[in-house]
Assembly symmetry: C2
Homo-oligomer: 483 residues x 2
């Protein structure tokens, strides 16, 4: 439901959603297939260290924990109430939460706006707002953070630790990303599925993520915005990069989005959203892969402050894919001599005679970790170089592991220079392991050239957004005053 | 070097390149880091069953095999000569190959056109052509097929068996794809790196792949075409789908392609290549990932004969990504009722009341393998349905393995209907395993929705190409006569 702007009490209370000392599960179940069981199982399996209070009118014990008939019977304070009751029982549960002075409610139950029960949904929203109890959901899959071994919902994965805060309206896409996080070491700081977002709004979670210590990039999956103005303001004020993917704009997508999370896109076209995102200073991505890749790069790298990117590779084909894609995206690679006077001769030292010191710099299929290291250091040290992409192709003489260790070491020494550094490595298992290790060490690494190029270009785009933001903020304030 | 059209003797001889009974390695080496050692190691490690003759002027034994001073000393016939000598020694080696009546020569040596030695390259090409000895390369990484445990070159991977013939001018991209083949079960029928393609041309390998029994799709990575007319003719006559990726068209790419494989793109722009590919009836892909994905789908699926695609999912978010992407690509999903009168009610049986029988068909996060099976069967059986996409999101109650087994079984029963069926499954390790198992059973499966949609749209495009081909052939013949 619409809000004018992000509410401070909600932002403050979100701390209890992501770091609760205690969780009451209203609708706790002994049936292992029910959400009311899964949520307790998930919390315990991931190592949650707070107290869990199962609430169940009949059982005295759920999943080995003492159960309470009502949240009102819990002897201590409750930070978070996780409600997984049939939709018709939710209102009463929220009344008890208010009475118990619960800090925040998270409602997984479906059967609200998404199936046409908008009235019921609005009733609970209004009740919560009148009583100062923030509500996340309903129709939500879960919330959590790997930094506190905290996984509250029915999410089978606790993601890997990392820089990206993932705020998703869709549960399924959130699950997919959390699974990928484990599988591909895509680092996540915090995650939440907002579902129907009846009360707590995107803008408020963005505001919370902005101040959350582990978050370096905020990635938002949107089916519809109820409060575009609040969103815009929160984004403009945010000092961390924000990426968005917005679905439900196709003809059939409008209907599907409504059926999914009661998202109303009627009368709003894609171009309007494009404009809103531009005015908000956020980066809109088109595909899910681009959304994930860009978020990881923005979470790990500083912005790219100029167009002088050096690309180092042991494979001419990878270099060609890269330079074509850079040009396609409007940021063509320049030759080394255009970037810096001595760069070409300096980098020449680290390749055999049949290498090619153009840009892409092809240090040849025989390249060793020493050659990669030398070329990378040279590019880092040249003050005219703004960013570096390295591609490693697994030839029969390539020691992928040694190259990985070398660039991780050099990146550690030079990262204070503030130059983005991105890797690409496609091939067999040794390449997959390299990508995971690089990501674990804060270097965005991908398995195709175009992903790496997309990421680098996104870092440049963010640098442009940063320059524009002051102006955008002024403009937004002026518009506000006009009203 | 240019040819007018694919030469029949070359096509015939290619059989000795992909299925040689004997391989002589000219430049066989005892130094484990040299190509002359790697090639023998690779052949033996992968289980090559033919005879290997190491040729080395000094050693009497290489890698445990008896060595010969000259190929002329080999007591039996030699099908294939693999030449890994310094560039200056190649001509003499080829003279001996001719004298020995070797069937085909494969030259890995670099130091020819790509570093400006175009004269030397042309000399060997002319010599080979005059003497009817086809030459693959030079500056080549390898050639092979998993169907004969045959890996001849310095490629660390023997790929997984499957339908895609991979013809790549670039060695590094070939290596990357072969590594991915092992890692992600991307099935390959045969592979070759053409390098500088001094003699054997794309058109000839395409002609060979067309008749190769395991090949269902021919995927070609191109840096430049020496013989566009021969290429066009070979493609138009080919009854298997062909995908291409063409690099080296960007400003800096023109230089990089020349430095890499002596590819001359000067004066040829991207639009000209676009036109050529259209006239040739091949599908041009933009990114490496799209190139691989499309090739796999075309290799595994029949063409999509109409626009009626049904999308079944347990995740509303995945459905939304899909329908937006279908519309973006100009092939929007239609509602079930537009596709077929009773489809909606028939498919409704396989979802809970809170599912959504729109299209995407959201059978809900609680979907079982039985529900997936029922919905899939219903879509297969409806004669108005042309193609099916299924997405599986790993919710806490999703049995990804059971769903995978179910759809594999149903696909086996219904594949004679000739309807393409594509899967998407993103998440943790169980999803990765599902993708590999599906691919092993001939179902193209991907980890993001947009990849699956791209693949389905490509199958439609191929169907359009098939309809257009007859006309294109006529047109080409008319042009020929005009000349």
């Amino acid at each position: 439901m619409e809000i004018k702007e992000a509410r401070q009490y909600v932002i403050d209370r979100l701390n209890y959603a992501f770091k609760p000392k205690s969780v009451a599960v209203i609708g706790a179940s002994r049936n292992e297939k029910k959400v009311g069981f899964k949520v307790i199982q998930g919390l315990r399996r991931c190592g949650y260290e707070g107290i869990i209070y199962p609430i169940n009118v009949k059982a005295t014990e759920v999943a080995g924990l003492p159960a309470y008939k009502s949240i009102l019977d819990v002897p201590d304070d409750v930070d978070l109430a996780f409600v997984s009751l049939p939709a018709t029982g939710v209102f009463e549960a929220l009344e008890q939460c208010v009475e118990k002075k619960v800090k925040i409610a998270v409602v997984s139950s479906s059967g609200f706006g998404e199936i046409g029960n908008k009235n019921l949904q609005n009733e609970i929203t209004e009740y919560c707002r009148e009583n100062g109890l923030p509500l996340i959901g309903p129709n939500l899959v879960g919330i959590g953070t790997p930094y506190h071994n905290y996984n509250c919902g029915f999410v089978p994965y606790l993601p890997n630790k990392g820089p990206v805060a993932l705020i998703s309206q869709s549960g399924s896409n959130l699950l997919a990303a959390l699974g990928s996080s484990q599988l591909d070491h895509f680092g996540i700081s915090m995650f939440v599925g907002l579902g129907n977002k009846a009360d707590v709004d995107f803008s408020e979670v963005i505001k919370y993520a902005e101040q959350e210590e582990h978050t370096k990039c905020i990635a938002v999956y949107i089916e519809a915005l109820d409060s575009p103005e609040a969103f815009k303001k929160a984004c403009l004020e945010c000092e961390k990069p924000i990426t968005v993917i917005k679905v439900g704009s196709s003809k059939i997508g409008v209907k599907a989005a409504f059926a999914h999370t009661a998202s109303d896109n009627t009368g709003h076209n894609n171009a309007e959203y494009d404009q809103l995102f531009q005015e908000s200073g956020v980066m809109r991505e088109e595909t899910w892969q681009e959304f994930l890749d860009t978020s990881l790069a923005l979470g790990m790298c500083p912005p790219l402050r100029g167009d002088n990117v050096v690309m180092i590779t042991n494979g001419g084909g990878a270099g060609l894919l890269a330079c074509d894609h850079f040009e396609r995206l409007g940021m063509p690679l320049k030759e080394l001599k255009e970037i810096s006077q001595n760069l070409r001769s300096a980098i020449r030292k680290y390749m055999p005679s049949f290498g090619s010191p153009l840009n892409p710099v092809d240090i040849s299929g025989t390249a060793t970790s020493e050659m990669y290291g030398g070329a990378l250091r040279t590019a880092y040290r040249d003050e005219n170089v703004d960013g570096i992409v390295i591609s490693v192709c697994p030839t029969a003489v390539t020691d992928v592991e040694a190259i990985t260790d070398t660039v991780i070491e050099i990146h550690k020494q030079y990262k204070t220079l503030g130059k983005p550094f991105i890797m690409e490595c496609q091939g067999g298992n040794e390449c997959r392991e390299a990508i995971m290790k690089l990501r674990d060490h804060g270097i965005p690494a991908f398995s195709t050239m175009e992903q790496a190029v997309n990421a680098m270009v996104a870092l440049r785009e963010y640098s442009h957004i940063m320059s524009r933001k002051e102006e955008l903020l002024k403009q937004a304030h002026a518009e506000e005053e006009e009203k």
